[in-house]
């Protein structure tokens, strides 16, 4: 983080997001590794959690059941009775994002949701799926009714249709930027405060006791930030999932 070797130590907050290949010429980066780990952890939670099949669930089974029920209810509440069909998709999406956010908090790991390439791909997938669902459920009515609501004056069509199309396409941007920006901001703050500690300890300010002592303050801030990041990690995964549900609702019911 801080390059303290000889020259001027600097704050390098963005270096942590650099990708490097773990398998030489195979482009398997640490980001991909964390994706595999996240997927494996999700499967492990469901498999080992549901293994006992107890009527009164243990802790792991309760966690698995709560997660299932939580997403299931979200689908039904937001999309309506048709939401059942989209449950597997939303569940997978929620856990992929949640695992990315949560695993990233562990020191020396990597937050794959901190790359806009990843969140952008996820958002693009959601919007493309929503469009396919809308066309399948409503056929050509999707194009006529979704982008031009019934009852609007025809004279306003040249204004309303572009605005609706932009509004529709902006979902890709807002969905991806929201997740990506939250994750990057959190991890940049970690890096900045951690670097403060190193800088203060190295500064030799007022002898070699006061500097390190003051350096404990940023560590305290970082501890609080870890708690805050835990909240943000869960919240952003939740927001991603619920927005997907809301978009699916719009696709099925046309607003």
């Amino acid at each position: 983080m801080a390059a303290a070797n000889g020259g001027e130590p600097t704050i390098d907050a963005l270096g942590q997001f650099k990708l490097y290949s773990l398998a030489g010429p195979l482009d398997f980066t640490q980001s991909n590794l964390m994706m595999v780990v996240g997927a494996a952890l999700t499967l492990a939670l469901l498999y080992f959690g549901m293994r006992p099949r107890a009527i009164v669930p243990g802790r792991l089974q309760a966690a698995a059941e709560l997660a299932y029920k939580f997403i299931y209810d979200m689908c039904i509440d937001q999309v309506g009775p048709e939401g059942r069909k989209f449950f597997p998709f939303v569940f997978t999406l929620f856990f992929f994002v949640l695992m990315g956010n949560l695993l990233g908090i562990i020191p020396y790991s990597f937050t794959y949701t901190s790359h806009i390439a990843v969140t952008g791909a996820l958002a693009l997938m959601v919007v493309v799926l929503v469009t396919i669902v809308a066309i399948r459920e409503n056929g050509a009515r999707f194009f006529t009714e979704y982008f031009f609501p019934k009852g609007a004056p025809v004279a306003l069509a040249p204004l309303i249709i572009p605005i609706e199309v932009i509004s529709y396409l902006s979902r890709i941007v807002s969905l991806s930027v929201r997740l990506f920006a939250n994750m990057v901001a959190g991890h940049v703050m970690f890096a900045v405060f951690a670097t403060f500690t190193i800088l203060l300890a190295n500064s030799g300010m007022l002898g070699h006791v006061v500097g390190p002592a003051v350096g404990l303050l940023p560590i305290a801030v970082n501890i609080a930030l870890v708690g805050f990041e835990l909240l943000v990690a869960c919240l952003q995964a939740y927001v991603f999932a619920i927005l997907t549900c809301i978009y699916l609702h719009d696709a099925v019911h046309l607003h």
């Binding site: 029920k69 572009p162 509004s167 902006s170 941007v173």
Partner: protein
């Protein structure tokens, strides 16, 4: 006389429902009724993302049709309108 057991049941039902609720971090905020900061961030992202999408479309149209300042200018305005539309969808009354 019939008040007492009724209220007891209602209370027990409420606590039972409360116990059934999912854990706090996933269910508490993030919806349209969040903290002021959350609402502000959401509105900001909706506004900016609509503008970004519009500018992207305008820029691509201009590059394609070689009409450089025309479409990007039009789409900046449309993007602003779409942003306000997005914010209205987020904050406005639920249908």
């Amino acid at each position: 006389m019939s008040e007492q057991p009724d209220r007891g049941f209602e209370d027990r039902l409420r606590t039972a429902e409360h116990r059934q609720k999912p854990p706090a971090p996933t269910g508490s905020a993030g919806n349209t009724t969040g903290s002021a900061l959350g609402i502000g961030l959401r509105v900001g992202i909706e506004l900016v993302s609509a503008l970004a999408a519009a500018v992207g479309i305008g820029w691509l149209l201009d590059r394609w049709l070689h009409t450089t300042p025309v479409f990007i200018g039009v789409f900046v305005l449309l993007g602003g309108a779409a942003g306000v539309m997005n914010v209205y969808r987020v904050m406005g009354p639920r249908k």
